[in-house]
Amino acid sequence: MTDQSSFESSPVSPVSRSFSFSSLLRSPASGAFMGFAVVFILFSIFGFGRNFLSVPGVTTWVNYASLVGIIAIPVGFLMISGELDISTGAVLPASTMTVAIVCGHYQMPIMVGIVAALSVGALIGFVNGYIVTHTQVPSFIVTLATLFAVAGLTLYLSIFFINNTNSFYNAPAFAKALLGGKFYGFNSSVFWWAGLVCVFVFFLHYSPKGSWVFALGGDQESARNAGIPVTKLKIGLFMLCSTATAFAGVLQVITFNSATSQANFGLIFNTIISVVVGGVLLTGGFGTVMGIVFGVLTLSIVTQAIGFTEIDRNLSFLIIGVMLLIAVLMNDTFRKLATSWSKPSKK
């Protein structure tokens, strides 16, 4: 026998159930959590005298985080599966304008508007997914193209239907309470986000299909050979992303009573920054939902709550830039830790 030395036998205990600090550290979410904790503590110190910890202080960034978060998690799914979606910046205004035009201008029931907006999202996602899976064009370029195409179409159709690029819409009371209400300062979207986080955690980490998403980003050819419906799954993920974005748009228009057809380019950066700060590997195959949640919260604190601290508001972009760089460097370290780790063998 050539290599008996490397065949150390150790007692078979395939499942480690015990809680350990090292297993926490190896989770891709831990880096994101530590980043969040550092930012939160620093902001609490600098913002103590300026209401950072007050109800309006906290709700400001949590409310913002909920809208970005509903979009960022599916964007993260796509990144885990090795794709990028930047068309979100156009899907959001398309969705808000759909609700405003259908329900505000044409006086249709709110449900019709919601279904129409979600359908617009699903359709854009299908187009993205179909083109990405049936051509060799990278998803960055495909969604860049749909970003501009949808943004242009939204402006054109807004002028065509209501002769205005902005619109106002007051939702009926029950819809307002369910989708755009306020509870102790928190918007309804926060609760929707919390619910969706549970569903997304279950989907990615517990349902059997979650593995498939990782497999797409790990090795697409092997995934196909293992019998995973690669094309369907990928189109599904693009549709999920655009539909979630459209849903965020619905929540936004019902909460703030206004819609705009201007493309939201900031959203694209915010979602991608959140996902990367949340520990998702840019090359795919690695990441967690909870990591993305912490990524979104961190980004929201830095961009939205800086006014409640003594830190100069103008520094927020600088902080985000530095944070993103640190996150990418740390992600690499965490991934190495995770792969090299093996359970200490009992001798």
Binding site: T2, E8, V15, F214, A215, E221, N225, L281, A338, W341
Partner: protein, 274 residues
């Protein structure tokens, strides 16, 4: 006599991509508990042949038989359902996923019902570790470990154990030893023998003659898309096989010419002019 009947057989199979013929008149057969080694240099058509066997490509002409019955596979999934499993050079594993999840990729064990079905991690990890250990890899003891931390040989072994567990009858190994060191390769060859002992038909694709001779019962040399030689264990020496792979008869002829030259020129080899 079912034992004599080949599990998988190709009869005069051609494969063309448009006007380009890649495989001509390929006839191979492999029986249960037998290792067929497909030898060939780069560009000999090995990958196309594997893809044809695995259901990725369909033969342009010729017959594809399993257990004596003609079959056609529309996609790799159909071939897998009939028990043809392919393991690729890098094991087809996902480095950043656990051993248990890799093992059950595409056929996850679940608990719960309806939309609340969830991945049964404990069961997956237990079975994965047991199966890998049965194949002789005792170093893998934790199903939660990420595959990226395993050696190349262990990853191959995991993939083979997976194929065996999911009821493969024909195991196609695509250059499993090409990227491995000497020890790791020996490791994989032992697993090939283990699979053979369990009655699997193995098609072992390689360009390393030594590895082929260590496990093969039957050899076929592929040159420019055609079977150039077909022989059983012990019928040819290692040098003869290497010659065949390098260009078939022409190589032997060249050597004979050199020998003649040496005899007539006091043992000097021919000088290259210019």
């Amino acid at each position: 006599m079912s034992a004599k009947q080949p599990i998988l057989e190709l009869r005069n199979v051609d494969k063309s991509f448009g006007p380009i013929d890649v495989l001509h008149e390929i006839s191979i057969k492999v029986r249960a508990g037998e290792v067929l080694c497909l030898l060939g240099d780069n560009g000999a058509g090995k990958s196309t042949l594997i893809k044809t066997l695995a259901g990725v490509h369909q033969p342009t002409r010729g017959e594809f038989l399993m257990d004596g019955q003609p079959v056609t596979f529309g996609n790799p999934k159909e071939a897998q359902e009939r028990g043809i499993a392919t393991v690729h050079q890098f094991g087809g594993t996902y480095p950043l996923m656990s051993v248990g999840r890799n093992f059950f990729m595409g056929s996850e064990p679940t608990k719960g019902f309806g939309p609340f079905k969830y991945f049964d991690r404990a069961k997956a990890n237990r079975i994965a570790v047991e199966e890998v250990q049965k194949m002789g890899i005792t170093r893998i003891t934790d199903g939660d470990r990420l595959v990226g931390g395993l050696s190349g040989g262990e990853r191959q072994s995991l993939a083979i154990a997976r194929a065996v567990y999911f009821g493969a009858r024909v195991l196609i190994l695509d250059e499993p030893t090409a990227a491995l060191g000497v020890k790791q390769a020996a490791h994989v060859l032992r697993i090939v023998n283990e699979a053979k002992k369990r009655g699997l038909a193995v098609i072992f694709i390689t360009h390393q003659v030594m590895h082929a001779m260590a496990v093969g019962d039957h050899f076929a040399v592929l040159i420019r898309g055609a079977i150039a030689a077909d022989f059983r264990k012990g019928e040819k020496t290692r040098e003869e096989i290497a010659d065949l792979m390098a260009g078939g008869e022409s190589m032997a002829e060249l050597e004979a010419n050199i020998e003649v030259y040496q005899q007539t020129h006091d043992g000097h080899v021919p000088q290259m002019s210019a």
